[in-house]
Structure formats: structure tokens, C-alpha cells
Amino acid sequence: MHELSIASSLVDTIRDRTGERTVASVHLRIGQLSGVLADALRFSFEIAAANTALEGAELILEQPAGRIRCRTYGLDSGLVDQFLLCACGSADVQVTAGRELDLVAVQLAAVEAAG
């Protein structure tokens, strides 16, 4: 359900910058460790964007996988689940990717003037 709060806040943030210009697409970076579900966000975005200049805008989601760096051996590795464990067994790791939750950019639709 928090995806709806995030989607509403997203629509407000974009409208603050772009006003009533029609938005063609919204580019987000949602890491796989971010706690935000892409499908739920798409669903919520449709609701939040309804009757605004963002209605019908395409959501482009970049979903970086989780990556960690082991503080014991300095190894970089990818994650298959939420557990922050190095292959060496150490839990003393630093998350280097996957927690992103960013609005990257917005593409505005070309505007055809009336005259």
C-alpha cells in the first residue's frame, strides 16, 4: 500500500516542475532492495495520475539488482535475495546497489499549438 503514497508524491513532485504540460513518460530507478514493488507502483501510478497531466504517461522502470561489498575480503557480489550475506559467510557487508528509489527524469509530450 505504500506504493500509493509514493505514487501520489511522485505525481505532485512532477507537477510542481512541469505544471500542466502533458507528460509522455516517467523514468524511475527502483532497486530490487528498495522495498517498492514495481507492479504495485504501476497500478498505483495509474490511480494517482488519473485526471492530471500525467494520465496515460508511460512508466519506465530501471530495476538495479542488489549488490554488496564484503568488508572482510573486499569482494563484490550480486544478491539473490534480501539477505545481505557474502559468499564467505560474512554478514559484514555494505550494500552498493539495489536500494535506489529515484525519480530520474520525465519526458514531456510534444505540444501542438492551436494556431
Binding site: 500500500m1 513532485t13 516542475r17 517498492v36 534480501q82 520525465v106 501542438e112 499549438a113 492551436a114
Partner: protein, 303 residues
């Protein structure tokens, strides 16, 4: 600060239409030639040959939670300026949050010692978050401690703006501890910073020892995990060590306590944790390293 290049430019910074001095949450428009404000609206006829604007890309490069995070940072500054420590208490519904708070307030807040130590001022205040009703706030109010109830309606978590309004109403005494009981939910509250000094997650033994595995975001964000209802351990299959080790796999720095808010077992450890300095209660891996030289650390790994 501009998140694209790190430069600082306060001009044009807005959060929900309000100007915010000193913080920039949006990329500097000067770096994006297409995002500058046009000096004319686009809805009127142009009267020149080109009647199609080129497609524009507006760069943002900001956190989706930037608005909440900004409000949380304000709350944190407001609280720190008054020497107030806020604790964000989260759990599933029914894990015993309110029971733990009521007992804590009854045993700690109104004792002569606590009032003397805080110079006669109330050492605690409480913010209660629930979707509906003031049942929990009524239970807290009965202890004599100031409380404000936030009803989130359809909302599944407290956010920084709700806490701001709650603090305005509560007007907590300087130097006190504000206990924030979040909406019962092990999912959403983990994402929303309120401006608290630490996050406390309560899990009761009747819920099962696999909660950290099932709700990793919540437990990864926790500074302290309190395993409650220890008096029921003889009747349920709950492996305390398994639960604690799962929580530590998600966050190696987390403190773990086992208590019964009903019988009072283990509450000494909780009260001790409450009196620790702010720097010593942060166990969240994302907020930095464990506290070197923290001689109390062993206290929270023994049950």
C-alpha cells in the same frame, strides 16, 4: 544540493510549492537546458511558423521519498534542538506495542526518580498511530503521560508530515523521549523516515520466529528488535535464537531483547536501552558502523 553534480543552488527549490531555503531536492535546472521555466505558457497560439515544440526531457535525479525525507530531516532538527529523542516503534498489529508502552510509562515515567532526573518535567510523551479510533491513546492517557492520537484513515503508516502535526499538538517537553507507536504493519513503515533517533521493531513469540525472513525490510531498518510475550514461550514453537540470528543476518548491528510486557520479564534490558545515549542506540547498518567501545553491547545479546 544538486544531486546531479553536487553544486549548491537554493534558487527555485520547492517542496509542494513552498520555498525551502538551504536544501535542494531537485537537480539544478541550470544544468538542463530544457527544464528552465518558459516565459510564456504553452497553451496559447504562438503565431509563428513552428507550431510544434520539441519533446523535452526534464531531469530530476531525486529520491522518490525526497519530500518525506526532507520533512523527516526537519523533524529531526526540531527534535534535536530541543534535546528530544524520538523512537519509532513498529510491529504487526497485536504484538504488544501499546502494552509495552503502558508498562514502560507506568514503571518509568512517573516515578519520583524519573521526574527528578528530568528536572521535574515529564520524561516521556507518546504519539499513537492507528487507522481508526483513540483506543490506544486512551490507554496511554490513563497513565498520565501526554499523548496525541494520529488516525491515518486508509493510510498504512505514519509519515514525517503526520509526525510534524502530531508534535505541534503534543508540544513535548525539552529533553524528553517521544515514543511513536506506528500503525501496526511490518511492511510500509520501514520506508518512511519520521525524523526519529532510532527504530524499534517488536515481534511477539506467537507470530513465529520466521518474521525477520518474511519481512526483511523492516528488520534490516531496525536498531533494536524486541521479542515480546516471552511468557508464552512454553506454549508456542518459537526459537528465540533463530529469530535473533535471522534479524542479525539482515542487520549485523541490531540489538535484540527478549521481554514480556505482561509479566515484566526482561524489561530491565529495555529500560537500560532507553537510557543509553543516542549514539549508542543506532544499530542500523545504513547509519554507519557499530559503536566501537560500546561496553553495553553484550547486554543485548544475552537473554
Amino acid at each position: 544540493m544538486c544531486s546531479t553534480c553536487g553544486c549548491n543552488d537554493d534558487a527555485g527549490v520547492r517542496v509542494d510549492g513552498r520555498s525551502v531555503t538551504g536544501l535542494t531536492l531537485i537537480a539544478n535546472p541550470a544544468h538542463d537546458p530544457h527544464s528552465h521555466p518558459h516565459d510564456h505558457p504553452h497553451s496559447h497560439p504562438h503565431g509563428h511558423d513552428s507550431d510544434v515544440h520539441p519533446t523535452e526531457t526534464v531531469l530530476f535525479e531525486q529520491s522518490l521519498l525526497a519530500h518525506n525525507d526532507l520533512l523527516a530531516a526537519r523533524n529531526r532538527g526540531w527534535l534535536e534542538g530541543r534535546g528530544i529523542r524520538a523512537l519509532n516503534v513498529m510491529s504487526s498489529p497485536g504484538s504488544g506495542k501499546t502494552t509495552l508502552l503502558v508498562r514502560t510509562l507506568t514503571e518509568c515515567a512517573l516515578t519520583e526518580f524519573a521526574l527528578t532526573a528530568s528536572g521535574g518535567r515529564m520524561p516521556f510523551a507518546v504519539v499513537e498511530g492507528d487507522q481508526e479510533t483513540s483506543i490506544d491513546a486512551d490507554r496511554i492517557r490513563a497513565t498520565g503521560v501526554p499523548v496525541v492520537q494520529v488516525n491515518t484513515g486508509a493510510g498504512c503508516h505514519l509519515d514525517a508530515d503526520m509526525l510534524r502535526h502530531a508534535l505541534d499538538t503534543l508540544d513535548p517537553d525539552p529533553g524528553c523521549t517521544v515514543l511513536i507507536e506506528n500503525v501496526g504493519n511490518l511492511v510500509c513503515p520501514a520506508l518512511f523516515d519520521l525524523g526519529e533517533a532510532a527504530k524499534v521493531v517488536i515481534v511477539s513469540v506467537t507470530e513465529g520466529d520466521d518474521k525477520p525472513r518474511k519481512y526483511p525490510h523492516m528488520f534490516a531498518a531496525a536498531d533494536l528488535v524486541v521479542i515480546n510475550k516471552s511468557d508464552l514461550l512454553p506454549y508456542v514453537e518459537f526459537d528465540v535464537e533463530r529469530c535473533a540470528s535471522q534479524a542479525r543476518q539482515l542487520n549485523p548491528n541490531v540489538d535484540v531483547l527478549v521481554v514480556s510486557a505482561t509479566t515484566g520479564a526482561g524489561l530491565d534490558g529495555w529500560y537500560h536501552w532507553l537510557t543509553r545515549p543516542s549514539g549508542a542506540i543506532r544499530g542500523d547498518a545504513t547509519r554507519g558502523e557499530a559503536n566501537p567501545g560500546d561496553t553495553d553491547a553484550h547486554y543485548y545479546t544475552h537473554y
